[in-house]
C-alpha cells in the first residue's frame, strides 16, 4: 500500500479498488517488463542523447557496460546491485531518478526480480541503433493488420475472441460463460443507449425465441435516437464541453448547444469517423455551405474561455498575450488528445520528455489555431438561404468596391433600376394622408393637445409610463401602413422628441385597429408586418415596437433634438368602402418618463411605404433632385440603388442561427476582435511569453514520418488552410494514432477499460496495451471499412468476449486481478447521467424530446459580478425541464450540479476520457437525501399500480420481487408506503450497477 502514497500515484489507483490479492512473483522479461521502465524513467538522462555518469540504459550493450563507476548489475544479487540501490535510494546510493518521483514499488520489484534472474538481456535490442531520444513508442508505428490467431471451435464468435482467447490461453486462463439473457440485455441497453431496459422490454427479449434475437436487439438499439444521446455524452466528456465560459467571469454560452446536437445527429447517422473528425477540426473550411460541418467546429471552442484575460483587461498587457497562448493551448491539447491520444501539451515548456514531440512541434500546432478564437459565429441553418446570403454578400462587396465612374453603372438595366427606385420612393413619399387626430386619450394622465399641423403635443406632469390612444379617419381603403412621426418642440427636454430628461422616448408596442367610420363595434386588429425607422437607438430598434414584448421598445437616443419617423406596414391592405377609421395605441411602458413628447399620425396606400423613411445620404438626395443629371450622378445613383437593393434583400433573409465555435468570423466585443490573419506564434523558451524564440510555422508532429510535419500551404495567411491541413494530417489512413485512439475509446465504453487504459494518451506515459494485436486489428478493420462506429459496436457487442458473465473466480483473480486479459466481463456502475435518466425512466416521467437549448437544473439570478448565481436547491425538480435526458442539461462550469457531481460527473474544465467511480459516504448522503431522487420515489409510488411492491420493483429493478423480497418489502411498504420502498430500491447496488 505504501507505493500508492509515494510515487506515480495513478488516478486509477485511487478510483479503482485495491486489487484483491497480490500477484505471485512471475519471471521478469526484459522487453516486456524492464525496458519500459528504463524507457519511461531513465533514458532521458541515461540514453542516446545524454549519458549521465557515463551510463546508457537504452541498449543492452550500455546496460552490460554500466557507468563510469562500473557495473550497475551484480547478476543474481539485487541487494548489492548499484541499479537497485539507486532506484531505492539505499546503501548510500543517490536516489534515482534524480528528478521526479521515485519508481513505484512494483517497478522496483520488477527490476529486483530481473536482477535475481541474473538480468537476462537480448543479444541486441532494436534500440541499439537509436539515434534520437526518446524513441517513438508503439503507438507511432504504422498499423499493420495482424493475422487473426487460430482458435478452437466453441467459445469464439468473431475475430475479437480469437485475440482474447489466445492471450487467456497463454496465461493459463479461461473465458467465462455467456451472461444470462436478462443480464446481457440490460448491459447492452446501458452500453448503447445509457438507459436501462424496462421490465417489459426485458421480458420480451427473454421470451423472444428467434436465434438472432440478440443481434436484432443490438440493431434496434443502434437505430434508436437514444444511442446518439448516449454516445454524444461520452464525446462531450472528452471534448470538455460546457454551457458557460468557466474562469472568474463564468458567463453563459447561449449558443454552445448546437454542437451537442450535432454530435447526437452524427452518432445516430453513423457518419464515417474520418468525416466526423474533419468536420470538428475544419468543417467550415472543408465543407463550405454545410451548416452541420460548421457547427461541428464547436469542438474547438468546447473548453473554458478566460473572458477577463481575453476581453476585459488592458489589450496591451502581457497578460493578454499569456491568455492567448493559454487559450490556444486548450484548443491544441483538446484536439491532439481527443483525436490522436498524444500529449503534445507536455512540450509547451520543453521537448516532451517521454514521447518524440518537440517544442517546435507543439508551437507548430499552436500556429494551426493562431487565426481563430472561441466565439459566436452566425450561420444559416438552411443551406439554400446560406447560398443566397453568400451570393448577395459577394455581389454587395463587389458593388461597394465599384468605382462610381465605372461605365457599367450607366448600362440600361442599372439605370432602369434607378428609375424603378425613384418611382417607389416618390410614391412612398407622396401618398401619406395626415388626417386630424380625434379621440385622444392618455391612460396615465399626460395632457394631449392637437396642434395646427395635426400633430399632438404631450404636456402636464410626466408620468413614469403611459399609453396614448388616437384615431384618424380617411375616406380611402387599401391602406398599407401607419406612420408615426415623433417631432420636436421647445417645451420638451432637449427639444424632444421625447419627454425623458435626455430627450429620449421608448415606444414599447404599437397596436392598430380599423373599422368603418362610426362603427367602432366592428373594430378589428391589424397585423403589423414590418417596422422601419429613420433612426434606431442601439439595442432599441423599431422592430421591438411590434415584437409583442412590452419590455422592449423603439428608442432614438442619442439622436435627440431632431424629428424621427417610423413606419409600420400592415400585413395586407385594410379599409372599407365607406372609408376607414384607424385607432392607434402607443404603449410607452419602459418607465422613467420615456414618453413621446409630440407625434403625428399618417396612413398611406403606397405599395412600399417603408422606403419613405429609410435614410438617404445627402449626395444621393442631391443627385435625385438634379435635373438634368450628370453621367457621374447617374452612375452614383445606380451604384447606390443597387447597393440598397442588395442590402434590403440580405436583410429580408431569415435570421441566422448562432453557434459558439472556433472561428475568426465574429463580431468584435471591446478589445476582443477577430484576427484577420493568423496571429504570430513563437516558440516560447520555457513556455514564457517574455522569451519568444523563432516564429512557429503551422504543422503537426514530426515523428510520423509518412506525413508532413510542417504544412505546405497555398496561402499560409489563410487560417482555414491551416486547420484543413491538420484535419488531413489527422485523418490520413497512414496516421496510426487516430484509428488506434478511436477504437480504443469505443472499446473503453463497452468493456469499462480501454485496451490502453489511458484513452487520451497512447504515448510512453500512457498505459501499456493489454491486447496490442487486437487493438491494431480493430484499428485496421475500422479504418479500412469506412470508419463506421455502428459496425464497430456490432463487432464488439456480438463478440463472446463482451457477452461473458461477470464471474467471480479467485483462481483467475490471482493471475489477473484487474481482469486486464478479460477472463470475464467488468461490472459497471451507472454513470451520473445514466442514474438520473434511469430514475426518470423508472418514475415514468422521462421526456424523450430531443435537441435544443440546454435546460438548467437550477434557478439562476444575477450574481455579484458577471457570473450568475445558481440555486440548485430552489429548482423545481418537477419542472418540465427536469424531465429531459441529462445530456440536455445546462452545464455550468463553476457552479456544478451537486447531484451529478456526487455521482462522479467530471469537472467540465478538463477532458475526462475515463470517469471516476466513487462509492463513499458523500455519495450515499446525496443518493439517500437528494430531493430529485426523493421526489421521483414519490412519482414511482404513484405509478406503481395495484400491487405497489411488484410495481416499484419492476420499475426500478426491471424484475419481479422474489417471494422473500415480496414479504419483506411488502411489510415495509405497508408500514411506510411505496415511496419509501422506491427510495430504498433507488439506492440499491442492483439498480446502480450493471453486470
Amino acid at each position: 500500500m505504501t507505493t500508492r502514497w509515494t510515487v506515480g500515484v495513478l488516478v486509477a489507483a485511487a478510483l479503482a479498488l485495491p486489487p484483491g490479492a497480490a500477484q505471485p512473483p512471475a519471471p521478469a522479461d526484459f522487453a516486456r517488463d524492464v525496458r519500459p521502465i528504463f524507457e519511461s524513467r531513465c533514458i532521458s538522462c541515461h540514453g542516446a542523447t545524454r549519458q549521465r555518469g557515463g551510463l546508457r540504459l537504452d541498449t543492452p550493450a550500455g546496460i552490460r557496460a554500466g557507468g563510469s563507476s562500473g557495473a550497475i548489475i551484480v547478476p543474481g544479487n539485487p541487494g548489492t546491485s548499484p541499479l537497485i540501490r539507486h532506484v531505492t535510494g539505499t546503501g548510500g546510493a543517490a536516489r534515482m531518478p534524480a528528478e521526479g518521483d521515485p519508481l513505484t514499488a512494483a517497478q522496483i520489484d520488477t527490476l529486483r526480480r530481473w536482477v535475481e534472474q541474473k538480468a537476462p538481456l537480448p543479444a541486441a535490442a532494436p534500440a541499439e541503433t537509436a539515434t534520437k531520444a526518446p524513441a517513438p513508442g508503439w503507438a507511432f508505428r504504422p498499423i499493420v493488420k495482424p493475422a487473426v490467431p487460430a482458435a478452437p471451435v466453441g467459445w469464439v464468435r468473431n475475430p475479437i475472441d480469437h485475440f482474447v482467447l489466445a492471450k487467456l490461453t497463454a496465461n493459463g486462463l479461461k473465458p467465462s460463460p455467456e451472461a444470462d439473457r436478462r443480464t446481457l440485455a440490460r448491459r447492452v441497453f446501458v452500453t448503447l443507449t445509457g438507459l436501462p431496459p424496462t421490465a417489459d422490454e426485458l421480458d420480451a427479449f427473454v421470451a423472444d425465441p428467434a436465434p438472432d434475437a440478440y443481434e436484432k436487439l443490438i440493431d434496434r438499439l443502434l437505430a434508436s435516437p437514444r444511442y446518439g444521446e448516449r454516445w454524444a455524452r461520452h464525446w462531450l466528456d472528452v471534448a470538455h464541453y460546457a454551457d458557460s465560459h468557466g474562469q472568474d467571469q463564468d458567463r453563459f454560452r447561449p449558443n454552445a448547444w448546437p454542437y451537442r446536437d450535432y454530435l447526437i445527429r452524427e452518432f445516430n447517422a453513423d457518419t464515417p469517423y474520418a468525416r466526423f473528425v474533419r468536420e470538428q477540426v475544419a468543417g467550415d473550411v472543408l465543407f463550405p455551405g454545410n451548416p452541420d460541418a460548421l457547427v461541428a467546429t464547436g469542438f474547438l471552442a468546447a473548453g473554458p474561455w478566460d473572458e477577463s484575460g481575453l476581453r476585459d483587461i488592458n489589450e496591451n498587457s502581457l497578460d493578454r498575450q499569456v491568455a492567448r497562448y493559454l487559450d490556444r493551448d486548450d484548443v491544441v491539447t483538446s484536439t491532439m488528445t481527443t483525436f490522436a491520444g498524444l500529449t503534445v501539451h507536455c512540450a509547451r515548456c520543453h521537448d516532451h520528455k517521454f514521447d518524440p514531440v518537440t517544442q517546435a512541434d507543439y508551437y507548430a500546432l499552436q500556429a494551426v489555431f493562431a487565426g481563430i478564437d472561441k466565439a459566436e459565429r452566425a450561420y444559416d441553418a438552411d443551406p439554400a438561404v446560406g447560398r443566397r446570403r453568400a451570393t448577395l454578400a459577394a455581389e454587395l462587396a463587389l458593388v461597394r468596391a465599384t468605382n462610381a465612374a465605372d461605365r457599367a453603372l450607366l448600362a440600361p438595366e442599372r439605370q432602369a433600376a434607378v428609375t424603378a427606385f425613384e418611382k417607389t420612393w416618390r410614391a412612398a413619399e407622396g401618398h401619406w394622408l395626415v388626417p386630424e387626430p380625434q379621440g385622444l386619450r392618455a391612460k396615465q394622465g399626460s395632457a394631449l393637445t392637437v396642434l395646427p399641423d395635426r400633430s399632438v403635443l404631450s404636456g402636464g406632469p410626466t408620468p413614469e409610463r403611459d399609453t396614448y390612444t388616437a384615431t384618424v379617419t380617411v375616406p380611402q381603403k387599401g391602406l398599407t401602413a401607419l406612420r408615426v412621426e415623433v417631432l420636436c418642440d421647445d417645451s420638451l427636454p432637449h427639444k424632444g422628441p421625447g419627454r425623458c430628461h435626455n430627450g429620449n422616448l421608448h415606444l414599447s408596442e404599437v397596436r392598430v385597429k380599423v373599422h368603418p367610420p362610426g362603427e367602432s363595434a366592428k373594430a378589428e386588429a391589424v397585423k403589423l408586418r414590418a417596422a422601419t425607422a429613420d433612426f434606431d437607438q442601439t439595442g432599441w430598434g423599431v422592430a421591438r415596437a411590434i415584437d409583442g414584448n412590452a419590455a422592449t421598445a423603439w428608442g432614438i437616443h442619442p439622436a435627440v433634438g431632431t424629428p424621427h419617423r417610423a413606419v409600420f406596414e400592415f400585413e395586407k391592405p385594410v379599409g372599407f368602402e365607406a372609408g376607414t377609421t384607424i385607432a392607434v395605441e402607443l404603449d410607452q411602458l419602459h418607465g422613467g418618463g420615456h414618453l413621446i413628447g409630440r407625434f403625428r399620425l399618417a396612413v398611406t396606400t403606397a405599395a412600399a411605404p417603408g422606403e419613405a423613411v429609410r435614410p438617404i445620404p445627402t449626395s444621393i438626395a442631391a443627385a435625385l433632385a438634379a435635373a438634368p443629371r450628370t453621367a457621374g450622378q447617374s452612375a452614383e445613383l445606380a451604384r447606390w440603388a443597387w447597393e440598397r437593393k442588395l442590402a434590403a434583400d440580405l436583410a429580408a433573409l431569415p435570421a441566422q442561427a448562432k453557434v459558439y465555435c472556433g472561428t475568426n468570423r465574429f463580431a468584435s466585443d471591446g478589445s476582443f476582435r477577430p484576427a484577420p490573419t493568423p496571429r504570430p506564434v513563437h516558440v516560447l523558451k520555457r513556455g514564457e511569453v517574455t522569451r519568444p524564440g523563432d516564429q512557429a510555422q503551422p504543422g503537426a508532429v514530426e515523428v510520423i514520418s509518412t506525413l508532413p510535419a510542417r504544412f505546405a500551404l497555398a496561402d499560409p495567411e489563410d487560417e482555414g488552410q491551416r486547420r484543413a491541413a491538420l484535419a488531413d494530417w489527422l485523418t490520413d489512413p497512414r496516421n496510426p494514432l487516430t484509428w488506434r485512439v478511436a477504437v480504443n475509446r469505443v472499446w473503453h465504453y463497452h468493456v469499462g477499460r480501454g485496451i490502453v487504459d489511458t484513452p487520451n494518451d497512447l504515448g510512453a506515459m500512457g498505459g501499456v496495451p493489454s491486447h496490442p494485436e487486437l487493438l491494431d486489428w480493430l484499428a485496421a478493420e475500422f479504418r479500412d471499412t469506412g470508419g463506421s462506429l455502428k459496425a464497430l459496436h456490432r463487432l464488439i457487442l456480438t463478440s463472446a468476449t463482451y457477452r461473458q458473465a461477470v464471474r467471480a473466480d479467485s483462481a483467475a483473480a490471482t493471475k489477473d486481478a484487474d481482469n486486464r486479459l478479460l477472463w470475464r466481463m467488468n461490472r459497471a456502475k451507472l454513470d451520473a447521467e445514466t442514474v438520473r435518466d434511469a430514475v426518470l425512466l423508472a418514475s415514468g416521467r422521462l421526456d424523450l424530446a430531443m435537441y435544443g437549448p440546454p435546460v438548467p437544473h437550477f434557478v439562476s439570478r444575477p450574481g455579484i459580478h458577471v457570473t450568475p448565481e445558481a440555486d440548485y436547491d430552489a429548482f423545481d425538480v418537477d419542472a418540465p425541464a427536469a424531465r429531459r435526458r441529462s445530456v440536455y442539461r445546462f452545464i455550468f462550469r463553476t457552479r456544478p450540479d451537486p447531484l451529478l457531481e456526487a455521482l462522479d460527473c467530471p469537472d467540465a474544465s478538463q477532458s475526462a476520457p475515463v470517469r471516476g467511480v466513487s462509492v463513499g459516504a458523500p455519495q450515499a448522503l446525496v443518493l439517500w437525501n437528494n430531493k430529485f431522487l426523493l421526489r421521483h420515489a414519490e412519482h414511482l409510488a404513484a405509478a406503481a399500480g395495484a400491487d405497489p411492491v411488484r410495481g416499484v420493483a419492476r420499475r426500478v429493478l426491471a424484475r419481479d420481487p422474489t417471494p422473500a423480497e415480496a414479504a419483506a418489502w411488502g411489510e415495509y411498504t405497508r408500514k411506510h408506503g411505496a415511496a419509501n420502498l422506491a427510495r430504498v430500491l433507488l439506492n440499491s447496488s442492483e439498480f446502480l450497477f450493471v453486470d
Binding site: V11, G20, G100, G246, S317, A813, D907, S909, G916, L925
Partner: protein
C-alpha cells in the same frame, strides 16, 4: 435544528452509525503512521487557509517602503506602460499609518490593529510573485498551482495524500464569504481530476443544512425518521446480499459501508456547526455578533477552529466575494475600500490564532493568510490601485512555522519581488513539507503528465520554518 430533524438524526442513520467500519473504498484511510507524514515526519496535520479574494494591497498593510513615502505623487518610470485594467498613475503612499510592531519590529498599518499584535507569531513571505495580473488565472494559480481551470485545489491534494482524520466530517471544507462565491466559483474548491470525494465541501453555515443533502428536504414528507431507519436496514440487507453474491468486488461492500459513514457524518455535523456551544466570551473575541459580513466572517473563523478540532484536514475561509466591490480588489479608492474589508478579517483572524493556541491546536495546525496577487505602487483612478502580480505578501503561522520571521523583499517601490522571491508553488511546497509531504513526490498522472500541486516548480522555504 427542529426536534424532528434531531430525532431523525438520532434514530435514522444513527443506529447504523454504530456499525462503523474503518475501511473505505474511494478514500483509502491512512494508518496512524501516515498522519505523521507521508515522506518525512510531519510538523502539522491540518490547515486553515484564509484567502483574501481580490488581491490584498501589500502596500497598505505589510510592505512598508520609505521610497514610496518619499516619492509620493511623483511619476516614476519603471517601464510599465499598461496595467491590467488601466494605465499607471503617480506613486501613491499608503493613506494609513505605518508602525513597527512586536519584538520582530514588523511594519503594519493601522488597518490591522489586532493582527499587528500577533506579528511575532507570523512568518512572512514578503515577495510572493504571481504569474498573472488577472483574478481568474491568478486565483487558480494560488489555489491549485495552475493558471487554468480543472486542477485540484490544495485542500483536495492534502485530503488525497493524507486521507481523513475523522469519519464524521468532510476532509476539505470551503467557507465562502457570506456575500457570495469568490472569483472562479466552485473551481477554487474543485477536486479537478482527483476522485470526486476530495472536492471541497462548501459549507453555508446560515443555510437550512450546512452540508448539502445531510438530511432529506422538508418537502419529502414521506421520508420520516422511522421510514429512514427501517429503510436503511432494508437497504443494508439488500446491498449486503448483492455484494455477497458477487465476491471480489470491494466497491459493493464499500457501498454498504458508505451508508454507515454517511450516518456518522449526519450525526456529527450538526454539533460541529453549532457555534452556540462556544462561550459568549470567546464568540465576542472573534466578533461573531458584528453586523453583516463582518460577523459572518468571524463565525466562519470560529467554525474553522471547530472543524479542524474535529478532524477536518483543510479549511479554507474566504474574505470577499467575486466582483468589483466588497472584497480586496480596491481599484477605486484605497482609503475608503480597504478599511472595511480589512476590518472584516483583522479581529477574527487574530482571535483564531489565540484560540488555536489556547486549545493546543497550535502544535499541529498551520494557518495561511494569502491572496491572489498584490497591488500597484501607482495610483489608479486617483486613489485606487490596480492588480500587481509582481509581488504580494503572504504569511503563515502555527505548527512548524518560525514566528517573527520574514523571507524575501520586494523592490524599493514594492512593484516587483526582488530578493528571495517566492511563488504559489513555494508556498505549497512549504505547506506540504510541514504536512510531511515531499511536494515533488505527490503526483497523479493525468493525460500523460504526472501532475503536482506545485506544477514543476516550488521549493520549501526553510527560512520561515522552525
Amino acid at each position: 435544528m427542529t426536534p424532528s430533524r434531531r430525532a431523525f438524526l438520532l434514530s435514522g442513520f444513527g443506529q447504523l452509525a454504530l456499525a462503523h467500519l474503518a475501511a473505505h473504498a474511494d478514500e483509502p484511510r491512512p494508518g496512524v503512521a501516515l498522519n505523521g507524514g507521508l515522506h518525512h515526519p510531519a510538523k502539522a496535520r491540518r490547515v486553515i487557509q484564509v484567502f483574501l479574494n481580490g488581491g490584498m494591497s501589500q502596500l497598505d498593510t505589510f510592505d512598508f517602503k520609505p521610497e514610496v513615502e518619499r516619492r509620493h505623487g511623483q511619476t516614476v518610470d519603471v517601464g510599465l506602460k499598461a496595467t491590467a485594467t488601466g494605465t499607471p498613475g503617480p506613486v501613491m503612499k499608503s493613506p494609513f499609518k505605518w508602525k513597527q510592531h512586536g519584538r520582530c519590529g514588523r511594519w503594519v498599518t493601522d488597518v490591522f490593529p489586532h493582527l499587528a499584535a500577533c506579528v511575532d507569531d507570523l512568518a512572512f513571505m514578503m515577495a510572493l510573485a504571481s504569474r498573472s495580473n488577472v483574478h481568474g488565472p491568478a486565483s487558480y494559480l494560488q489555489t491549485t498551482g495552475f493558471l487554468t481551470p480543472g486542477f485540484p485545489a490544495a485542500g483536495a491534494w492534502v485530503g488525497y495524500a493524507l486521507g481523513r482524520l475523522t469519519d464524521d466530517l468532510p476532509t476539505f471544507v470551503a467557507l465562502p464569504d457570506a456575500r457570495g462565491l469568490p472569483y472562479n466559483g466552485m473551481g477554487n474548491f474543485s477536486a479537478g481530476f482527483l476522485p470526486a470525494v476530495h472536492q471541497g465541501t462548501v459549507v453555508r453555515p446560515g443555510g437550512p443544512t450546512p452540508i448539502p443533502d445531510l438530511a432529506p428536504p422538508a418537502s419529502a414528507r414521506f421520508a420520516t425518521p422511522e421510514a429512514g431507519t427501517d429503510g436503511l436496514a432494508l437497504l443494508r440487507d439488500m446491498n449486503a446480499r448483492y455484494a455477497a453474491e458477487r465476491p471480489g468486488d470491494s466497491r459493493l461492500s464499500a457501498r454498504v459501508e458508505g451508508y454507515e459513514l454517511a450516518a456518522r457524518m449526519q450525526l456529527s455535523a450538526p454539533e460541529a456547526f453549532d457555534l452556540s456551544r462556544e462561550t459568549a466570551r470567546l464568540r465576542d473575541r472573534y466578533g461573531t455578533d458584528r453586523p453583516g459580513a463582518d460577523g459572518a466572517f468571524a463565525r466562519n473563523c470560529l467554525l474553522a477552529r471547530r472543524l479542524v478540532e474535529r478532524g477536518v484536514r483543510f479549511v479554507q475561509v474566504w474574505s470577499g466575494a467575486g466582483g468589483p466591490t466588497n472584497n480586496w480588489d480596491n481599484h477605486t479608492s484605497i482609503p475608503t475600500e480597504l478599511p472595511p474589508i480589512a476590518r472584516q478579517v483583522d479581529q477574527p483572524v487574530a482571535a483564531l490564532l489565540a484560540d488555536l493556541k489556547a486549545r493546543g491546536l497550535w502544535a499541529d495546525t498551520v494557518v495561511v493568510f494569502t491572496t491572489e496577487f498584490g497591488r500597484m505602487p501607482f495610483t489608479q483612478s486617483g486613489v485606487g490601485r490596480d492588480h500587481n502580480g509582481g509581488t504580494s505578501v503572504t504569511w503563515l503561522a502555527g505548527a512548524g512555522v518560525k514566528g517573527g520571521t520574514a523571507h524575501g523583499a520586494s523592490d524599493e517601490f514594492s512593484y516587483l519581488a526582488a530578493e528571495n522571491c517566492t511563488t504559489a508553488h513555494d508556498l505549497y511546497a512549504t505547506l506540504l513539507h510541514l504536512l510531511g509531504i515531499d511536494h515533488e513526490r505527490l503526483t497523479v498522472r493525468h493525460n500523460g503528465i504526472d501532475r503536482r500541486l506545485t506544477d514543476v516548480h516550488g521549493h520549501a522555504v526553510s527560512a520561515i520554518l522552525e
